[in-house]
Every structure is written in structure tokens, then in C-alpha cells.
């Protein structure tokens, strides 16, 4: 405090020692910050490191005392066991297929809805908007009981369409909100030009708006895919046979099946987060803030 004061009143006199002091203080601060960041990083990283380490261990050495990061029996056996088991591969196929379908269908429906929200004034717009926002807060458990009845009545119990339609209810509101936000950023003149030339709104949407909205659609798509990939409650309740189960349920099934094959569970967990990891690595540029913006504004 005093140093700042004097340097302000007499800058020339104290310039040299002050600058040296500031540089030293900055270096100390930087070292402190890096130390704090490193210690903080242990919180998220340690469990993940242990998960990886366990996936390469023989099951008998998972809980060895004292614990070791790399044991003598280091192997890919757990991965091989999963990747050669048709039942477990089926979990992955189901998850990919369901999440992929949900993504495509959600994007299609959301783009249409977002176009209406972004480009039109119409009666009931505000109310529909509030409904779409509130739908996000409907507890899944509330819907579960009637869905169980509904899906059985519609003949969709233990089928792909049953899960796909179910997941769309949860992905759609968010997708609409994010897509509307994205369309709002695009100048109205773009699609109006088409209409002035006699094109229909439908043409304006698909020929003009959609092609330039690819970044927005990617971020909505990634988000949607991940919701569907991660869903647990409905996948558990609306399917019956193992050939319809998804990865989260598969991981849980492993838990009961062979008296805790921990190494296989960890290997399956690692494999289970690969799609998310890939989306993260390849598309991070697209959904920078897109999701948080959506969530924060939702």
C-alpha cells in the first residue's frame, strides 16, 4: 500500500526498485497459482487415473494392499473381454443407434420450431415459449409411471422407438431454445430475400438458414447426443431384454453379473466415455459457450 502511494507521488525516484519488486512478486504469485492449480487438479484427476489403472489390472489385484498404479499383471484383458462379447457390444450398438437417432430427429423438429420462434410473431408465442422452458423442469420420475403405461399400450415397450421418442421429450426443449438463439443471430434479410423472390418459408429455411447454421446445429446435436448417451432411468425401466439395453445399464448389469469384475467395469466405463471424449476433442470449437449459453439462458 505504502509502496504504491510513494510510487504514485514520486514515480521517477522509486521506479527501478519498484519494478524489480513487482516482477519478483509476480513470479512468486505465478508459482503460487500454478501450485494451486496443480493441487486442485488432483480432485478431478485422481479418480480418473485410478479408473484407467484399474482397467488394466487383473481383477484379483484391484484391491491389493498397498495399492499400486501399475501391477505385474498389466494387460488389456478386460478390454478384450468386453470387445469380444457380443452381448456387451450390443450395449454399445444400442447406445450409438439410439443416441444417433435421437440427435437427428431432435435437430429436425427443433429447427422447424426454432424457425417459427425466431422469424414469426404469432398468437400464443409467449405462452408456448414459457411452456417449452418449464418442460425442462418436469421431473423424469413423474413421467416414468405414465410412460410405462403409455409405451406398453402403444406397443413400444422394449423397442428402439420407445426409447427414442422418450428421450426426445428431454432433448427437444433445450434444442429449441438453443436453435432459436442461433437463428436470432442470423440477419433476417437472408431468408427474407428468398421470400421476396417468391420462395416459400420452407425453402428459405432449408436452402438458406440451415446451411449457414451448421455450427449451431453441431452444438445442439452434440448436446442431444450426450443426453441420450447418458440416460439411465428410462433405459432401465422401458426395456426388458439385454439386447435392448444401453451402455449405462450394461455397466450396471456387469455389477451384478459376475460377482464384481471391477477391471471389466472400469474398462467398459473407459470405452463408454469415448464417444463423449471424441465429440469433445473434435467439436470443442463449436460448442464453446453454446451449451453454457443455452443452459444459462435456457
Amino acid at each position: 500500500m505504502t509502496a504504491t502511494k510513494t510510487s504514485l507521488s514520486a514515480p521517477t525516484q522509486l521506479e527501478v526498485p519498484t519494478r524489480a519488486h513487482v516482477i519478483r512478486a509476480r513470479k512468486r504469485k505465478k508459482a503460487g497459482l500454478i501450485a494451486a492449480l496443480t493441487i486442485g487438479a488432483l480432485f478431478p484427476a485422481l479418480p480418473v487415473v485410478w479408473m484407467l489403472s484399474s482397467s488394466f489390472k487383473p481383477n484379483g489385484l484391484i484391491f491389493e494392499y498397498p495399492p499400486r498404479l501399475i501391477t505385474e499383471g498389466f494387460s488389456f484383458d478386460a478390454y478384450v473381454a468386453i470387445l469380444t462379447d457380443p452381448e456387451k457390444l450390443r450395449f454399445f450398438f444400442n447406445s450409438y443407434f439410439i443416441a444417433g437417432s435421437v440427435t437427428i430427429l431432435t435437430l429436425f423438429v427443433a429447427v422447424l420450431a426454432a424457425y417459427a420462434f425466431s422469424r414469426y410473431e404469432f398468437k400464443g408465442k409467449r405462452i408456448i415459449n414459457v411452456v417449452v422452458i418449464s418442460v425442462q423442469a418436469v421431473p423424469p420420475i413423474t413421467l416414468l409411471i405414465p410412460y410405462f403405461g403409455l409405451v406398453v399400450v402403444l406397443g413400444l415397450y422394449n423397442t428402439y422407438p420407445g426409447l427414442i421418442l422418450t428421450y426426445m421429450v428431454f432433448t427437444l426443449p433445450y434444442a429449441i431454445i438453443m436453435m432459436t438463439g442461433y437463428f436470432n443471430t442470423l440477419p433476417r434479410e437472408l431468408d427474407e430475400a428468398v421470400k421476396v423472390d417468391g420462395g416459400s418459408p420452407w425453402t428459405a429455411l432449408w436452402r438458406v438458414l440451415v446451411p449457414i447454421s451448421v455450427p449451431g446445429m453441431v452444438s445442439v446435436g452434440v448436446y442431444t447426443f450426450m443426453i441420450a448417451w447418458n440416460e439411465y432411468l428410462f433405459a432401465l425401466t422401458l426395456t426388458r431384454t439385454n439386447d435392448m439395453r444401453t451402455v449405462p445399464i450394461g455397466i450396471q448389469l456387469l455389477m451384478g453379473q459376475h460377482a464384481y469384475d471391477w477391471n471389466q467395469m472400469m474398462a467398459m466405463s473407459v470405452l463408454g466415455c469415448i464417444p463423449v471424449l471424441i465429440l469433445f476433442l473434435f467439436f470443442q470449437r463449436y460448442f464453446i459457450g453454446g451449451m453454457t449459453a443455452g443452459a444459462v439462458k435456457a
Binding site: L33, N129, L143, L233
Partner: protein
């Protein structure tokens, strides 16, 4: 649905202000345009009176009607009858099912557990998220180093809740790695059964939920921090405000809208958390971690008492809608 493990990367080069959903708002992306363009195009040709928007909204209407409105009507209907679903000739019983739920001490235990679980999670998510975001936002470290740390800090987000549950069951098992450290460092005499000790189970699953959920806050706050004008900090420095004062007088007030939104959303999602509890403790031991979600699920799919479960589901629905009301109102006030 629950916390989506959104893999968001808030690169220094592209803060919220350039994000798709906010680029039109021009206020650093913290505020308006939650949904449609409210007022933005007013005064221009607005196609008022055409049926086109309803056409575009038809698939959404149909989906929401069949999969949202109808089920909610159904569950309300279920809650007023007797032995629904399993018995085709069920009778109207009025509020009997509600009386049964509200007269069940376990239900209140579940409500209080849910409140503790969600409240503690949200507070910890905020504190951790804010701390990490502030550190990651520091101009002192290089962008490359920042990217590395950011990737590490986001890690828990990459895991679906089923994976988180299994992983922590392994870590917290009596002869797991957590107990190794706890006993070796002398915090405990013997191994602790974190998830099966009635007094520790709730704190344990809350901790797991904190681990899994803070990146959501962190990324949002990081984006928010990058949206704060540096002029505000310069002005604060001219007023001789130290780092602490700057945090409380500039950072916090600037981030307040984001923080309130995130906290409300997080609270809503955490109260609805099912998978994590189901896969770690199953609501036990002796109801110690029973949540409203697990309580309702068990009524329906373990005891097949769908009618009473529906009453419980409706009560949860009403509680959630109350929270959603505050959320929507807050979002609107930011427009």
C-alpha cells in the same frame, strides 16, 4: 433429465460473447434472448396472422402433447384411483393415495435428504466452480497451460452418471483407495464403509455428486468471467480496491445473473437425480440416502403400488414446478 455431461470448452479466444446463442444480444452474453426474439424485430414485417409458424411448430406440439401433456394428465389421474395399472377395474379414491404418501415418515425423510443433497451440492458446485474458474481466468499463466488445466478440470464431465457411480463404488469400497489414504494418513483407525454406514452414506453420495457436477458451474462462470469488461477492474484499481474487494464489488455482481440461473437449474436437476443414488446406495442404508426419486421409483417398480407412486410423483412435480416458476421468472427479468 439430470446433469448432462456437457463437454464445453471455453477457450480464451472465444468467450460467451461469441457463442451462437448469445451473439445477437450484445451484452456479453449474460442476458437476454432466452427464447424467441422478443421485441427485436418489432416494427418490421412480422408475418402476423399467418398460419406458417403453427405449421412449423406442429411436430413439437404433437410430441409435447403425446409425451408430456398426456403423461402428466395420466399420472394425475392415476394418483386418484386405486391399484392402477395392475388392476383394470380400479376405483376413484380421492386423496387417499396422497394421504398415504404424506403420512409416510419415509417420504419426509426422502424430502429432507433430497433438500440436503441438493443444497450442499449446489453450494459446493458454486464454490469449486468459482475457485477453479478464477484460477483458470488468471492472465498470469499462458494459454497453453490454461488449456491443459482446463481439460483436467473438465474431466468429471466426460463421464455418464452410471460410470461415476461405479467408479466411486470402487474408490469408496471398504478396501478401496480412499480408505487406504484415510487409514495411512491416520484419519481413521480402520477402514470405513462409506456407502453402507447410515451416518456417512448421505455425505458420501453428496461428495460424489459434487465431484461429478462442478465443471458445469466452472465452465459457465469461466465464460461469464471472460465477458466482464476489463474497464470495470481498471476503475476498481484506480479506487485502490484489492483483489478481494474487486471480487466482491466487480466480479460477483457482474456474474450474479449467471450464478442465480445456474444455481436454480442445478438445484432442480440435483433434486431429480436418480441414477447416482440408485447405483451407489439404492436409497439405503435404512433410508439414509432415500431421495424423492428413489422413493417414488421403489413404490412403482419394486412394490408395484403405481397409484401411490403416482401421488408421490405428482407431489414432486408440483415442487419442481414451483422451482421452475422462480427460474422462468428470473430468466424473464433478465430479458
Amino acid at each position: 433429465m439430470t446433469h448432462p455431461p456437457e463437454t464445453t470448452e471455453a477457450t480464451a479466444a472465444a468467450p460467451l460473447a461469441t457463442a451462437p446463442a448469445s451473439a445477437g444480444s450484445g451484452d456479453g452474453g449474460t442476458g437476454d434472448e432466452a427464447g424467441p426474439t422478443r421485441g427485436r424485430w418489432r416494427g418490421r414485417r412480422s408475418y402476423r396472422g399467418t398460419v406458417a409458424p403453427y405449421g412449423f411448430l406442429t411436430p413439437t406440439f404433437v410430441l409435447l402433447l403425446v409425451l408430456m401433456v398426456t403423461p402428466i394428465a395420466m399420472v394425475i389421474g392415476y394418483s386418484f384411483v386405486d391399484r392402477v395399472i395392475i388392476n383394470p377395474n380400479s376405483d376413484f379414491v380421492g386423496f387417499e393415495n396422497y394421504a398415504q404418501v404424506l403420512g409416510d415418515p419415509v417420504f419426509f425423510k426422502a424430502v429432507s435428504n433430497t433438500a440436503i443433497f441438493a443444497g450442499a451440492s449446489v453450494i459446493a458446485h458454486f464454490v469449486l466452480g468459482m475457485g477453479f474458474a478464477l484460477m483458470l481466468n488468471s492472465p498470469m499463466i499462458s494459454n497453453r497451460l490454461k488449456a491443459v488445466y482446463r481439460a483436467i478440470y473438465i474431466l468429471p464431465w466426460l463421464f455418464t452418471v452410471a460410470i461415476v457411480a461405479v467408479l466411486w463404488r470402487m474408490l469408496l469400497s471398504p478396501n478401496g483407495i480412499v480408505n487406504f489414504f484415510v487409514t495411512e494418513l491416520g484419519f481413521a483407525e480402520e477402514e470405513i464403509a462409506w456407502l453402507s454406514d447410515p451416518s456417512l452414506a448421505l455425505p458420501a453420495i453428496t461428495f460424489i455428486n459434487i465431484w461429478a457436477g462442478y465443471p458445469f458451474f466452472m465452465v459457465s462462470l469461466l465464460a461469464g468471467l471472460q465477458g466482464i469488461s476489463s474497464e470495470l477492474y481498471e476503475a476498481a484499481r484506480l479506487d485502490r480496491a484489492g483483489p478481494v474487494k474487486q471480487f466482491f464489488n466487480v466480479t460477483l455482481p457482474q456474474l450474479k445473473p449467471i450464478i442465480i440461473s445456474m444455481a436454480l437449474l442445478d438445484f432442480i436437476w440435483t433434486t431429480q437425480q436418480f441414477a447416482l443414488i440408485w447405483m451407489t446406495t439404492g436409497g439405503g442404508p435404512i433410508d439414509a440416502t432415500e431421495m424423492v426419486s428413489t422413493y417414488t421409483y421403489k413404490l412403482a417398480f419394486s412394490t408395484y403400488d403405481f397409484a401411490v407412486a403416482s401421488a408421490s410423483a405428482v407431489i414432486i412435480f408440483l415442487l419442481s414446478m414451483t422451482l421452475a416458476f422462480f427460474y422462468v421468472r428470473h430468466q424473464k427479468s433478465r430479458d
